[in-house]
């Protein structure tokens, strides 16, 4: 792959009170790639996302985003540098309306998001952008609903609308299908494809194999806090290390 990596993780590890949660993970992700991260529960997938996004700081190794070293930078600095993420359980401003959720993200990305001297208006750029993004994920009808009152699937879509509004270059999706009824899966897959459009790089932890295999360029397999393999889906599934270590099936 000729493109310079947009995200590179070099020998990253995490130790908490003597316990090794993650060790020696090295990944280099070129711009525009969609990468699936799989592995049994407790393998360290979410921890890896937390280290990349700054929710936790790596105790070893280096995280680079667009060439900038981010290992010790706080969450909001990484977000401003173009990193967006979702969480395993949907994480929204439940007491605010759907459009306000998205508008906050749009404002933050545009700068001056927390000024006392500026007011949100129905006609301003951020609101229009927010409305467009809601429309894009199919939530235009719910713009004024409280985020906390939306269904599981709609909450997921709202989170993605927020990501779209931020327009990050790298996106981490932590189990975007978790808790979503099977009826909503195809629609949500479509929305995730939208995210990937325009050269965005997407990393996704997901247990739905058909989702992973249908979307991703490469698959990273985690096990016991280590990266077992990272390759095309076909190669990974035929990799003997993966087969022998990855006992049982991910359900």
């Amino acid at each position: 792959m000729p493109a310079a990596p947009v995200l590179s993780i070099e020998h990253v590890g995490l130790q908490i009170g003597g316990a090794r949660i993650l060790q020696d993970v090295t990944l280099s992700i070129p711009r525009g790639e969609m990468l699936g991260v799989i592995g049994p529960n407790g393998a360290g997938k979410t921890t890896l996302f937390n280290l990349i996004s700054g929710v936790l700081f790596a105790t070893e190794g280096v995280v680079r985003l667009n060439g900038r070293t981010m290992t010790r930078e706080p969450i909001h600095v990484r977000a401003r540098a173009g990193l967006g993420r979702t969480f395993q359980t949907s994480s929204l401003f439940n007491g605010l309306s759907a459009i306000e959720n998205v508008r906050l993200a749009a404002q933050a990305a545009a700068g001056g998001g927390s000024l006392v001297t500026r007011f949100p208006r129905a006609t301003d750029a951020a609101t229009r952008l927010a409305a467009d993004r809601l429309d894009e994920v199919g939530l235009a009808d719910h713009a004024q609903s409280l985020a906390g009152g939306l269904s599981h699937g709609d909450k997921r879509k709202l989170e993605i609308a927020m990501l779209l509004a931020m327009d990050p270059s790298v996106i981490l999706l932590d189990e975007p299908m978790a808790g979503v009824g099977s009826g909503d899966v195809p629609g949500l897959m479509e929305v995730i494809r939208t995210l990937h459009h325009g050269g965005r790089t997407v990393l996704m932890v997901e247990h739905h194999m058909e989702v992973v295999l249908g979307l991703v360029d490469r698959v990273a397999v985690m096990h016991h806090g280590e990266l077992l393999a990272c390759d095309t889906p076909a190669a990974v599934m035929n990799n003997p290390t993966v087969q022998s270590a990855y006992l049982g099936d991910p359900v």
Partner: protein
Amino acid sequence: MSTNSSTNLSSNILTVRNLYGRIEGQQVVEDVSFDVPDTGVTALLGRNGVGKTSTIKSILGLIDRTGEVTLGGRRVDRLPTHKVVQLGVGYVPEDREVFGKLTVAENLKLAERSAKPNRALVEKLFPDLVQRQAQLAGTLSGGQQQMVSLARALLNQNRLLLVDEPTKGLSPKIVGEVAQALLIAARTVPILLVEQNLQVIRQLADRVVVLSGGRVVFTGEASELLDHPERIQRFLGVHSGSGQADAAVPA
């Protein structure tokens, strides 16, 4: 929805009818109904985030719930958690939840509900714990912590065990030991087991209950699910062959 509940109600130790669970106002269990017979292992399956753990917690009252739960013919859905447990329910939580700042001995002592705890069984199953009884539980390995968690449940005379993902994040050798311990326990007490490792399910489960989108979509004998790869694929999202090379096969 096929709820092939047994015709003879008296042979069920646990019946769950129209169970709803919520966490902070969010619906996480939706209209779930199933039975657990008074012998053998019933596996509660489903994709990640589908509400298996929440179902277990709702049964125990660890999260807000409504609906009908009967244990050995007695309604327990209005009882606080400790009362439900005192009626003879052993609980092995997801992520083990041992008290890290208490010693192994203290962890076990805390769990003893009767004057005559079954220490002999625990000592036989987990000789390692006897040696480490003065050690702080927080300093144990994941596998050892799981032993403590299991031992806490097995110390008491129970009518039902609720075991939530006991092999999560454990190495293959420990997975085998945990499965062995559960197999021995299952001779004397019925178990409702949440598990993601298909091998372990094959080894232990007599019956299966499958959740999807917060609801029960399949119940039946274990073989009715496990011998039908297309059902496994449909309900659990896993491409399943047999034996070791189960992981997942490229599409």
